[in-house]
Protein backbone atom coordinates (compact mmCIF):
# COMPACT_ATOMS: atom_id res chain seq x y z
CA UNK A 1 0.00 0.00 0.00
CA UNK A 2 2.91 2.31 0.65
CA UNK A 3 3.80 2.04 -2.96
CA UNK A 4 0.29 2.76 -4.08
CA UNK A 5 -0.02 5.92 -1.97
CA UNK A 6 2.94 7.49 -3.80
CA UNK A 7 1.51 6.58 -7.14
CA UNK A 8 0.48 9.60 -9.17
CA UNK A 9 -1.35 8.50 -12.29
CA UNK A 10 -1.03 11.82 -14.03
CA UNK A 11 2.67 12.13 -13.51
CA UNK A 12 3.16 8.59 -14.64
CA UNK A 13 1.27 9.28 -17.82
CA UNK A 14 3.34 12.37 -18.54
CA UNK A 15 6.48 10.34 -18.04
CA UNK A 16 5.21 7.72 -20.40
CA UNK A 17 4.60 10.39 -23.01
CA UNK A 18 8.08 11.72 -22.44
CA UNK A 19 9.47 8.27 -22.98
CA UNK A 20 7.44 7.85 -26.11
CA UNK A 21 8.44 11.21 -27.52
CA UNK A 22 12.11 10.66 -26.86
CA UNK A 23 12.13 7.08 -28.03
CA UNK A 24 13.74 5.83 -31.17
CA UNK A 25 10.41 4.68 -32.58
CA UNK A 26 8.70 8.06 -32.29
CA UNK A 27 11.68 9.96 -33.58
CA UNK A 28 12.06 7.81 -36.62
CA UNK A 29 8.46 8.43 -37.66
CA UNK A 30 8.01 12.04 -36.63
CA UNK A 31 11.02 13.63 -38.21
CA UNK A 32 12.65 16.93 -37.21
CA UNK A 33 10.53 19.93 -38.09
CA UNK A 34 7.33 17.91 -38.25
CA UNK A 35 4.29 19.72 -36.98
CA UNK A 36 3.45 16.60 -34.98
CA UNK A 37 6.69 16.90 -33.11
CA UNK A 38 6.70 18.48 -29.69
CA UNK A 39 8.02 21.97 -29.67
CA UNK A 40 7.39 22.69 -33.33
CA UNK A 41 8.43 26.28 -33.74
CA UNK A 42 7.39 28.15 -36.83
CA UNK A 43 10.67 28.98 -38.51
CA UNK A 44 11.87 28.84 -42.12
CA UNK A 45 14.03 25.87 -41.19
CA UNK A 46 11.14 23.91 -39.72
CA UNK A 47 8.88 24.83 -42.63
CA UNK A 48 11.45 23.26 -44.91
CA UNK A 49 11.80 20.21 -42.66
CA UNK A 50 8.05 19.54 -42.72
CA UNK A 51 8.29 18.78 -46.43
CA UNK A 52 11.83 17.49 -46.60
CA UNK A 53 11.58 14.96 -43.78
CA UNK A 54 8.38 13.29 -44.88
CA UNK A 55 6.86 11.40 -47.75
CA UNK A 56 5.61 14.75 -48.99
CA UNK A 57 9.05 15.42 -50.38
CA UNK A 58 8.24 12.94 -53.13
CA UNK A 59 5.36 15.17 -54.23
CA UNK A 60 6.27 18.73 -53.41
CA UNK A 61 9.50 20.67 -53.32
CA UNK A 62 10.24 22.78 -50.25
CA UNK A 63 9.36 25.95 -52.07
CA UNK A 64 7.20 26.78 -55.07
CA UNK A 65 6.81 29.83 -57.23
CA UNK A 66 4.48 32.30 -55.63
CA UNK A 67 2.17 32.51 -58.62
CA UNK A 68 1.83 28.71 -58.56
CA UNK A 69 -0.26 28.72 -55.39
CA UNK A 70 -2.75 31.17 -56.82
CA UNK A 71 -6.07 29.41 -57.04
CA UNK A 72 -6.88 31.16 -60.31
CA UNK A 73 -3.86 29.64 -62.04
CA UNK A 74 -4.34 25.90 -61.47
CA UNK A 75 -7.84 25.81 -59.95
CA UNK A 76 -6.41 22.85 -58.00
CA UNK A 77 -7.66 20.58 -60.79
CA UNK A 78 -4.70 18.22 -60.98
CA UNK A 79 -4.53 17.80 -57.24
CA UNK A 80 -8.27 17.27 -57.05
CA UNK A 81 -8.13 14.61 -59.76
CA UNK A 82 -5.54 12.81 -57.66
CA UNK A 83 -7.60 13.24 -54.51
CA UNK A 84 -10.67 11.87 -56.26
CA UNK A 85 -8.61 8.91 -57.44
CA UNK A 86 -7.70 8.18 -53.80
CA UNK A 87 -11.34 8.58 -52.76
CA UNK A 88 -12.36 6.16 -55.53
CA UNK A 89 -9.72 3.67 -54.43
CA UNK A 90 -10.94 3.71 -50.85
CA UNK A 91 -14.65 3.51 -51.68
CA UNK A 92 -13.91 0.96 -54.40
CA UNK A 93 -12.15 -1.36 -51.95
CA UNK A 94 -15.17 -1.14 -49.65
CA UNK A 95 -17.48 -2.02 -52.53
CA UNK A 96 -15.28 -4.99 -53.45
CA UNK A 97 -16.07 -6.57 -50.07
CA UNK A 98 -19.69 -7.04 -51.13
CA UNK A 99 -19.46 -7.57 -54.87
CA UNK A 100 -19.08 -10.86 -56.73
CA UNK A 101 -18.41 -10.49 -60.46
CA UNK A 102 -20.44 -13.45 -61.64
CA UNK A 103 -23.71 -13.12 -63.47
CA UNK A 104 -25.62 -15.29 -60.97
CA UNK A 105 -24.82 -13.16 -57.93
CA UNK A 106 -23.93 -9.74 -59.18
CA UNK A 107 -27.36 -8.14 -59.23
CA UNK A 108 -28.34 -9.60 -55.85
CA UNK A 109 -25.10 -8.20 -54.47
CA UNK A 110 -25.97 -4.81 -55.87
CA UNK A 111 -29.40 -4.89 -54.24
CA UNK A 112 -27.93 -6.09 -50.96
CA UNK A 113 -25.46 -3.21 -51.16
CA UNK A 114 -28.39 -0.82 -51.29
CA UNK A 115 -30.47 -2.40 -48.56
CA UNK A 116 -28.35 -4.43 -46.13
CA UNK A 117 -24.74 -3.26 -46.13
CA UNK A 118 -23.87 -0.51 -43.66
CA UNK A 119 -23.32 2.69 -45.63
CA UNK A 120 -23.42 0.55 -48.76
CA UNK A 121 -25.59 2.93 -50.73
CA UNK A 122 -23.68 5.99 -49.54
CA UNK A 123 -20.34 4.45 -50.50
CA UNK A 124 -21.71 3.42 -53.87
CA UNK A 125 -23.00 6.95 -54.44
CA UNK A 126 -19.63 8.39 -53.44
CA UNK A 127 -17.93 6.02 -55.86
CA UNK A 128 -20.22 6.82 -58.76
CA UNK A 129 -20.42 10.59 -58.35
CA UNK A 130 -16.74 10.72 -57.51
CA UNK A 131 -15.97 8.88 -60.74
CA UNK A 132 -18.02 11.29 -62.84
CA UNK A 133 -16.39 14.20 -61.05
CA UNK A 134 -12.91 12.78 -61.63
CA UNK A 135 -13.61 12.43 -65.36
CA UNK A 136 -14.72 16.06 -65.45
CA UNK A 137 -11.79 17.30 -63.39
CA UNK A 138 -9.27 15.44 -65.56
CA UNK A 139 -10.86 17.01 -68.66
CA UNK A 140 -10.75 20.45 -67.10
CA UNK A 141 -7.19 19.91 -65.92
CA UNK A 142 -6.22 19.23 -69.51
CA UNK A 143 -7.99 22.41 -70.60
CA UNK A 144 -6.23 24.43 -67.91
CA UNK A 145 -2.86 23.06 -68.98
CA UNK A 146 -3.63 23.94 -72.57
CA UNK A 147 -4.81 27.47 -71.87
CA UNK A 148 -1.77 28.28 -69.72
CA UNK A 149 0.55 26.85 -72.38
CA UNK A 150 2.00 24.44 -69.84
CA UNK A 151 2.44 21.69 -72.44
CA UNK A 152 5.23 23.59 -74.20
CA UNK A 153 8.90 22.66 -73.90
CA UNK A 154 10.28 21.36 -71.61
CA UNK A 155 6.94 19.82 -70.62
CA UNK A 156 5.97 18.03 -73.88
CA UNK A 157 6.64 14.60 -72.44
CA UNK A 158 4.51 15.27 -69.39
CA UNK A 159 1.65 16.42 -71.61
CA UNK A 160 1.82 13.05 -73.37
CA UNK A 161 1.76 11.25 -70.02
CA UNK A 162 -1.24 13.43 -69.16
CA UNK A 163 -3.09 12.38 -72.33
CA UNK A 164 -2.40 8.76 -71.42
CA UNK A 165 -3.83 9.45 -67.96
CA UNK A 166 -6.95 10.98 -69.54
CA UNK A 167 -7.45 7.86 -71.65
CA UNK A 168 -6.89 5.59 -68.66
CA UNK A 169 -9.42 7.62 -66.67
CA UNK A 170 -11.99 7.18 -69.43
CA UNK A 171 -11.27 3.45 -69.60
CA UNK A 172 -11.60 3.13 -65.83
CA UNK A 173 -14.90 4.97 -65.91
CA UNK A 174 -16.18 2.89 -68.82
CA UNK A 175 -15.17 -0.49 -67.34
CA UNK A 176 -16.77 0.50 -64.06
CA UNK A 177 -19.97 1.46 -65.82
CA UNK A 178 -20.73 -2.19 -66.66
CA UNK A 179 -20.32 -3.56 -63.15
CA UNK A 180 -23.82 -2.85 -61.71
CA UNK A 181 -25.09 -5.23 -64.42
CA UNK A 182 -28.45 -3.54 -64.75
CA UNK A 183 -30.22 -2.46 -67.93
CA UNK A 184 -28.52 0.94 -67.88
CA UNK A 185 -25.02 -0.52 -67.56
CA UNK A 186 -25.29 -3.35 -70.04
CA UNK A 187 -26.89 -1.35 -72.84
CA UNK A 188 -24.63 1.66 -72.39
CA UNK A 189 -21.64 -0.64 -72.73
CA UNK A 190 -23.25 -2.32 -75.73
CA UNK A 191 -23.51 1.04 -77.48
CA UNK A 192 -19.89 1.87 -76.55
CA UNK A 193 -18.41 -1.40 -77.71
CA UNK A 194 -20.41 -1.41 -80.96
CA UNK A 195 -18.22 1.51 -81.97
CA UNK A 196 -15.04 -0.47 -81.43
CA UNK A 197 -16.28 -3.10 -83.86
CA UNK A 198 -16.01 -0.47 -86.56
CA UNK A 199 -12.19 -0.37 -86.36
CA UNK A 200 -10.79 -1.36 -89.72
CA UNK A 201 -9.35 -4.87 -90.15
CA UNK A 202 -9.09 -5.82 -86.45
CA UNK A 203 -12.49 -4.49 -85.34
CA UNK A 204 -14.06 -7.89 -84.63
CA UNK A 205 -10.96 -9.18 -82.87
CA UNK A 206 -10.76 -6.09 -80.65
CA UNK A 207 -14.37 -6.48 -79.68
CA UNK A 208 -13.97 -10.20 -79.07
CA UNK A 209 -10.94 -9.65 -76.84
CA UNK A 210 -12.70 -6.98 -74.81
CA UNK A 211 -16.01 -8.75 -74.43
CA UNK A 212 -14.63 -12.27 -74.11
CA UNK A 213 -17.10 -13.30 -76.81
CA UNK A 214 -19.11 -11.89 -79.69
CA UNK A 215 -21.60 -10.22 -77.32
CA UNK A 216 -21.63 -9.08 -73.71
CA UNK A 217 -21.87 -12.04 -71.36
CA UNK A 218 -20.53 -13.51 -68.11
CA UNK A 219 -16.97 -13.41 -69.48
CA UNK A 220 -17.28 -9.70 -70.13
CA UNK A 221 -18.30 -9.04 -66.55
CA UNK A 222 -15.34 -10.92 -65.08
CA UNK A 223 -12.95 -9.40 -67.60
CA UNK A 224 -14.05 -5.83 -67.06
CA UNK A 225 -14.11 -6.31 -63.31
CA UNK A 226 -10.48 -7.44 -63.40
CA UNK A 227 -9.56 -4.54 -65.66
CA UNK A 228 -11.43 -2.12 -63.43
CA UNK A 229 -10.11 -3.15 -60.02
CA UNK A 230 -6.64 -4.38 -60.88
CA UNK A 231 -5.12 -3.77 -64.27
CA UNK A 232 -6.16 -0.19 -65.02
CA UNK A 233 -5.52 1.11 -61.47
CA UNK A 234 -2.11 -0.53 -61.63
CA UNK A 235 -1.35 1.22 -64.91
CA UNK A 236 -2.73 4.56 -63.82
CA UNK A 237 -0.69 4.57 -60.60
CA UNK A 238 2.47 4.05 -62.62
CA UNK A 239 1.59 6.90 -64.97
CA UNK A 240 0.51 9.17 -62.12
CA UNK A 241 3.92 8.61 -60.53
CA UNK A 242 5.68 9.48 -63.76
CA UNK A 243 3.42 12.52 -64.15
CA UNK A 244 4.26 13.87 -60.69
CA UNK A 245 7.96 13.11 -61.05
CA UNK A 246 8.08 14.91 -64.40
CA UNK A 247 6.35 17.99 -62.98
CA UNK A 248 9.31 18.53 -60.70
CA UNK A 249 11.96 17.45 -63.18
CA UNK A 250 10.65 19.98 -65.69
CA UNK A 251 11.07 22.80 -63.20
CA UNK A 252 7.93 22.68 -61.11
CA UNK A 253 4.72 24.40 -62.01
CA UNK A 254 4.78 26.24 -65.32
CA UNK A 255 5.69 29.88 -65.30
CA UNK A 256 3.33 32.82 -65.12
CA UNK A 257 1.70 33.56 -68.44
Amino acid sequence: MAKASGWNPRQKLAERFDQLHNGQFWRSIVRPGSMFRRGYADSPRNRAYVVMNSLLYHLHPVKVKRHGIKLSYTLCLGGLSFFLFILLTITGIYLMFFYRPSVGEVYTDMQRLHTQVSFGLLVRNLHRWGAHLMTISVFLHMARVFYTGAYKPPREFNWIVGVILLLLTLLLAFTGYLLPWDQLAVWAVTVGTEMMKQSPVIGDQVQFALLGGPVIGPETLLRWYTLHVLFLPFLIVIFISIHFWRVRKDGGISGPM
Binding site: I69, L122, N125, K152, P153, G192, Q198
Partner: protein
Protein backbone atom coordinates in the same frame (compact mmCIF):
# COMPACT_ATOMS: atom_id res chain seq x y z
CA UNK B 1 53.99 19.57 -58.41
CA UNK B 2 51.67 22.58 -58.79
CA UNK B 3 49.96 24.07 -55.76
CA UNK B 4 46.15 24.00 -55.70
CA UNK B 5 45.98 27.66 -56.66
CA UNK B 6 48.20 27.04 -59.65
CA UNK B 7 45.93 24.18 -60.65
CA UNK B 8 42.97 26.54 -60.37
CA UNK B 9 44.60 29.15 -62.64
CA UNK B 10 45.68 26.51 -65.13
CA UNK B 11 42.26 24.87 -65.43
CA UNK B 12 40.56 28.24 -65.62
CA UNK B 13 42.83 29.25 -68.50
CA UNK B 14 42.26 25.93 -70.27
CA UNK B 15 38.50 26.14 -69.90
CA UNK B 16 38.40 29.71 -71.10
CA UNK B 17 40.50 28.76 -74.09
CA UNK B 18 38.08 25.90 -74.82
CA UNK B 19 35.30 28.44 -74.94
CA UNK B 20 33.32 27.33 -71.86
CA UNK B 21 31.12 29.93 -70.27
CA UNK B 22 32.68 31.78 -67.32
CA UNK B 23 30.45 30.00 -64.81
CA UNK B 24 31.37 26.54 -66.06
CA UNK B 25 35.06 27.42 -66.29
CA UNK B 26 35.04 28.75 -62.74
CA UNK B 27 33.24 25.72 -61.42
CA UNK B 28 35.59 23.26 -63.12
CA UNK B 29 38.62 25.17 -61.95
CA UNK B 30 37.31 25.19 -58.39
CA UNK B 31 36.64 21.47 -58.57
CA UNK B 32 40.17 20.88 -59.84
CA UNK B 33 41.58 22.98 -57.01
CA UNK B 34 39.67 20.97 -54.43
CA UNK B 35 40.91 17.75 -56.01
CA UNK B 36 44.44 19.04 -55.96
CA UNK B 37 44.11 19.99 -52.29
CA UNK B 38 42.77 16.56 -51.43
CA UNK B 39 45.47 14.89 -53.47
CA UNK B 40 48.15 16.81 -51.61
CA UNK B 41 46.76 15.88 -48.23
CA UNK B 42 45.82 12.34 -49.05
CA UNK B 43 49.10 10.47 -48.51
CA UNK B 44 48.64 10.79 -44.75
CA UNK B 45 44.92 10.08 -44.59
CA UNK B 46 43.98 6.72 -46.08
CA UNK B 47 47.23 4.97 -45.14
CA UNK B 48 47.04 5.86 -41.48
CA UNK B 49 45.47 2.62 -40.39
CA UNK B 50 47.87 0.30 -42.15
CA UNK B 51 51.34 1.76 -42.15
CA UNK B 52 53.22 5.05 -41.60
CA UNK B 53 53.45 7.36 -44.59
CA UNK B 54 57.00 8.09 -45.67
CA UNK B 55 57.47 11.73 -44.82
CA UNK B 56 54.72 14.25 -44.44
CA UNK B 57 53.26 13.85 -40.95
CA UNK B 58 55.49 12.41 -38.22
CA UNK B 59 52.99 12.66 -35.30
CA UNK B 60 50.23 10.90 -37.12
CA UNK B 61 52.55 8.16 -38.28
CA UNK B 62 53.90 7.68 -34.80
CA UNK B 63 50.50 7.04 -33.34
CA UNK B 64 49.34 4.85 -36.16
CA UNK B 65 52.38 2.63 -36.39
CA UNK B 66 51.62 0.23 -33.50
CA UNK B 67 48.24 -0.66 -34.84
CA UNK B 68 49.78 -1.41 -38.18
CA UNK B 69 52.27 -3.78 -36.58
CA UNK B 70 49.54 -5.61 -34.75
CA UNK B 71 47.05 -5.82 -37.55
CA UNK B 72 48.74 -6.27 -40.87
CA UNK B 73 51.77 -8.31 -41.83
CA UNK B 74 55.09 -7.16 -43.25
CA UNK B 75 54.32 -7.23 -46.97
CA UNK B 76 52.16 -4.16 -46.48
CA UNK B 77 55.22 -2.00 -45.96
CA UNK B 78 56.11 -1.74 -49.57
CA UNK B 79 52.62 -0.66 -50.57
CA UNK B 80 52.38 2.73 -48.84
CA UNK B 81 55.42 3.97 -50.62
CA UNK B 82 53.91 2.97 -53.92
CA UNK B 83 50.66 4.56 -52.95
CA UNK B 84 52.38 7.73 -51.94
CA UNK B 85 54.12 7.87 -55.24
CA UNK B 86 50.95 7.49 -57.23
CA UNK B 87 49.22 10.22 -55.30
CA UNK B 88 51.00 13.22 -56.79
CA UNK B 89 50.36 11.79 -60.20
CA UNK B 90 46.69 11.52 -59.42
CA UNK B 91 46.69 15.04 -58.08
CA UNK B 92 48.32 16.30 -61.21
CA UNK B 93 45.84 14.53 -63.44
CA UNK B 94 42.87 16.77 -62.71
CA UNK B 95 44.96 19.71 -63.78
CA UNK B 96 45.51 18.32 -67.23
CA UNK B 97 42.19 16.47 -67.70
CA UNK B 98 39.71 18.19 -65.47
CA UNK B 99 36.50 16.58 -66.63
CA UNK B 100 37.62 12.97 -66.80
CA UNK B 101 36.59 11.65 -63.42
CA UNK B 102 40.04 11.67 -61.91
CA UNK B 103 38.88 10.81 -58.35
CA UNK B 104 37.73 7.42 -59.48
CA UNK B 105 41.17 6.55 -60.82
CA UNK B 106 42.74 7.36 -57.48
CA UNK B 107 41.18 4.38 -55.78
CA UNK B 108 43.06 1.63 -57.55
CA UNK B 109 43.95 -0.36 -54.48
CA UNK B 110 44.78 -3.96 -55.31
CA UNK B 111 42.60 -6.23 -53.25
CA UNK B 112 45.49 -7.96 -51.44
CA UNK B 113 44.50 -6.37 -48.15
CA UNK B 114 47.17 -3.72 -48.23
CA UNK B 115 45.64 -0.30 -48.78
CA UNK B 116 41.95 -0.28 -47.89
CA UNK B 117 40.01 1.05 -50.83
CA UNK B 118 38.05 4.20 -50.06
CA UNK B 119 34.38 3.53 -50.58
CA UNK B 120 32.88 6.61 -52.15
CA UNK B 121 29.20 7.39 -51.83
CA UNK B 122 27.50 9.08 -54.73
CA UNK B 123 25.74 11.99 -53.09
CA UNK B 124 24.74 13.98 -56.12
CA UNK B 125 25.31 14.30 -59.80
CA UNK B 126 25.60 17.86 -60.99
CA UNK B 127 25.19 18.29 -64.70
CA UNK B 128 27.24 21.03 -66.35
CA UNK B 129 24.07 22.82 -67.46
CA UNK B 130 22.92 22.92 -63.86
CA UNK B 131 25.97 24.96 -62.97
CA UNK B 132 25.01 27.52 -65.54
CA UNK B 133 21.51 27.67 -64.12
CA UNK B 134 22.98 29.25 -61.00
CA UNK B 135 22.80 32.46 -62.95
CA UNK B 136 19.08 32.27 -63.65
CA UNK B 137 16.82 34.96 -62.33
CA UNK B 138 15.86 34.57 -58.69
CA UNK B 139 12.12 33.94 -58.39
CA UNK B 140 9.63 34.87 -55.77
CA UNK B 141 9.07 31.61 -53.94
CA UNK B 142 6.97 30.57 -50.97
CA UNK B 143 7.19 27.61 -48.63
CA UNK B 144 5.02 24.67 -49.59
CA UNK B 145 4.27 24.27 -45.91
CA UNK B 146 2.09 26.03 -44.94
CA UNK B 147 1.03 28.05 -48.00
CA UNK B 148 0.43 25.41 -50.68
CA UNK B 149 -0.56 22.60 -48.35
CA UNK B 150 -3.13 24.69 -46.55
CA UNK B 151 -4.73 25.59 -49.88
CA UNK B 152 -4.66 21.95 -51.00
CA UNK B 153 -6.22 20.83 -47.74
CA UNK B 154 -9.05 23.36 -48.05
CA UNK B 155 -9.72 22.34 -51.67
CA UNK B 156 -9.73 18.68 -50.68
CA UNK B 157 -12.16 19.22 -47.82
CA UNK B 158 -14.49 21.36 -49.93
CA UNK B 159 -14.67 18.72 -52.66
CA UNK B 160 -15.06 15.89 -50.15
CA UNK B 161 -17.90 17.75 -48.46
CA UNK B 162 -19.57 18.52 -51.79
CA UNK B 163 -19.36 14.92 -53.01
CA UNK B 164 -20.61 13.58 -49.69
CA UNK B 165 -23.58 15.93 -49.55
CA UNK B 166 -24.43 15.17 -53.16
CA UNK B 167 -24.16 11.43 -52.43
CA UNK B 168 -26.50 11.71 -49.47
CA UNK B 169 -29.01 13.67 -51.55
CA UNK B 170 -28.89 11.79 -54.86
CA UNK B 171 -28.73 8.03 -55.24
CA UNK B 172 -26.79 6.33 -57.99
CA UNK B 173 -29.15 4.74 -60.52
CA UNK B 174 -29.82 1.03 -60.40
CA UNK B 175 -32.37 -0.15 -62.91
CA UNK B 176 -33.83 -3.63 -63.24
CA UNK B 177 -31.61 -6.65 -63.90
CA UNK B 178 -30.06 -6.65 -67.35
CA UNK B 179 -32.14 -8.31 -70.00
CA UNK B 180 -30.55 -9.00 -73.35
CA UNK B 181 -33.89 -9.49 -75.06
CA UNK B 182 -35.19 -6.06 -74.19
CA UNK B 183 -33.32 -3.06 -75.55
CA UNK B 184 -34.19 0.10 -73.66
CA UNK B 185 -35.28 2.93 -75.87
CA UNK B 186 -33.22 5.02 -76.16
CA UNK B 187 -30.01 3.25 -75.15
CA UNK B 188 -27.25 5.74 -74.53
CA UNK B 189 -23.55 5.37 -73.92
CA UNK B 190 -21.98 6.82 -70.74
CA UNK B 191 -22.00 10.62 -70.92
CA UNK B 192 -18.32 10.96 -71.87
CA UNK B 193 -18.99 8.97 -75.04
CA UNK B 194 -22.28 10.66 -75.87
CA UNK B 195 -20.50 13.16 -78.09
CA UNK B 196 -19.29 10.28 -80.23
CA UNK B 197 -22.71 8.66 -80.21
CA UNK B 198 -24.16 11.96 -81.35
CA UNK B 199 -21.67 12.02 -84.19
CA UNK B 200 -23.01 8.63 -85.27
CA UNK B 201 -26.15 10.46 -86.36
CA UNK B 202 -24.20 12.49 -88.88
CA UNK B 203 -21.41 10.22 -90.08
CA UNK B 204 -20.78 6.67 -91.12
CA UNK B 205 -20.01 4.54 -88.02
CA UNK B 206 -16.45 4.05 -89.18
CA UNK B 207 -15.91 7.80 -89.29
CA UNK B 208 -17.71 8.66 -86.06
CA UNK B 209 -16.61 5.65 -84.06
CA UNK B 210 -13.05 5.16 -85.23
CA UNK B 211 -11.59 7.88 -87.42
CA UNK B 212 -12.64 10.93 -85.40
CA UNK B 213 -11.60 9.52 -81.98
CA UNK B 214 -8.27 8.38 -83.43
CA UNK B 215 -7.62 11.77 -84.97
CA UNK B 216 -8.50 13.51 -81.68
CA UNK B 217 -6.19 11.27 -79.66
CA UNK B 218 -3.31 11.68 -82.09
CA UNK B 219 -3.85 15.44 -82.21
CA UNK B 220 -3.79 15.61 -78.41
CA UNK B 221 -0.58 13.59 -78.25
CA UNK B 222 1.02 15.73 -80.92
CA UNK B 223 -0.18 19.10 -79.61
CA UNK B 224 3.21 20.22 -78.22
CA UNK B 225 4.88 19.28 -81.51
CA UNK B 226 2.30 20.91 -83.74
CA UNK B 227 2.27 24.12 -81.74
CA UNK B 228 5.91 25.22 -81.92
CA UNK B 229 5.22 28.72 -80.65
CA UNK B 230 7.23 28.99 -77.42
CA UNK B 231 5.19 31.81 -75.89
CA UNK B 232 2.69 31.11 -73.14
CA UNK B 233 1.07 34.53 -73.27
CA UNK B 234 -2.55 34.35 -74.47
CA UNK B 235 -1.92 37.33 -76.76
CA UNK B 236 0.65 35.37 -78.77
CA UNK B 237 -1.37 32.20 -79.15
CA UNK B 238 -4.75 33.28 -80.38
CA UNK B 239 -4.95 30.57 -83.05
CA UNK B 240 -4.14 27.74 -80.61
CA UNK B 241 -6.65 29.01 -78.08
CA UNK B 242 -9.37 29.45 -80.68
CA UNK B 243 -8.82 25.98 -82.11
CA UNK B 244 -8.75 24.29 -78.74
CA UNK B 245 -11.78 26.21 -77.51
CA UNK B 246 -13.64 25.27 -80.68
CA UNK B 247 -12.78 21.62 -80.10
CA UNK B 248 -13.83 21.67 -76.44
CA UNK B 249 -17.00 23.63 -77.12
CA UNK B 250 -18.16 21.50 -80.01
CA UNK B 251 -17.66 18.36 -77.98
CA UNK B 252 -19.49 19.89 -75.04
CA UNK B 253 -22.39 20.88 -77.31
CA UNK B 254 -22.55 17.42 -78.88
CA UNK B 255 -22.46 15.80 -75.44
CA UNK B 256 -25.22 18.05 -74.10
CA UNK B 257 -27.38 17.36 -77.15
CA UNK B 258 -26.79 13.64 -76.64
CA UNK B 259 -27.66 13.91 -72.96
CA UNK B 260 -30.79 16.04 -72.96
CA UNK B 261 -32.06 16.46 -76.51
CA UNK B 262 -32.27 12.85 -77.62
CA UNK B 263 -35.35 10.79 -76.87
CA UNK B 264 -36.75 7.44 -78.02
CA UNK B 265 -35.06 6.18 -81.17
CA UNK B 266 -32.33 8.73 -80.44
CA UNK B 267 -34.56 11.28 -82.15
CA UNK B 268 -34.36 14.96 -81.36
CA UNK B 269 -36.58 16.05 -78.50
CA UNK B 270 -36.81 19.14 -76.36
CA UNK B 271 -36.33 18.20 -72.70
CA UNK B 272 -39.07 20.61 -71.61
CA UNK B 273 -41.55 18.93 -73.93
CA UNK B 274 -40.63 15.26 -74.14
CA UNK B 275 -38.79 14.84 -70.83
CA UNK B 276 -35.21 13.80 -70.12
CA UNK B 277 -34.04 10.42 -71.31
CA UNK B 278 -30.74 10.34 -69.55
CA UNK B 279 -29.20 8.83 -66.45
CA UNK B 280 -25.71 9.41 -65.17
Amino acid sequence: MPTPDEVFEQVLAEETAKGSSPAVAQARAKAARVRAQRGAKNPSVPDKSTAPPPSSNPEASGSAAPSAEQGESKPAESKPAAAAQTKPAAAAKPASKPASGAPAKKAVGNGAGAVPERVQRLLAVVKPEAIQKVERQPMDRVNVWPHLMAAEMVALLVVLAAVTIFSIAVDAPLRELSNFNQTPNPSKAPWYFLGLQELLRYFHPQVAGVTIPTVIIIALFAAPYIDRNPSTSPDDRKLAIVLFSFFMLSFAVLTIIGMFFRGPGFNFVFPWEGGIFFEL
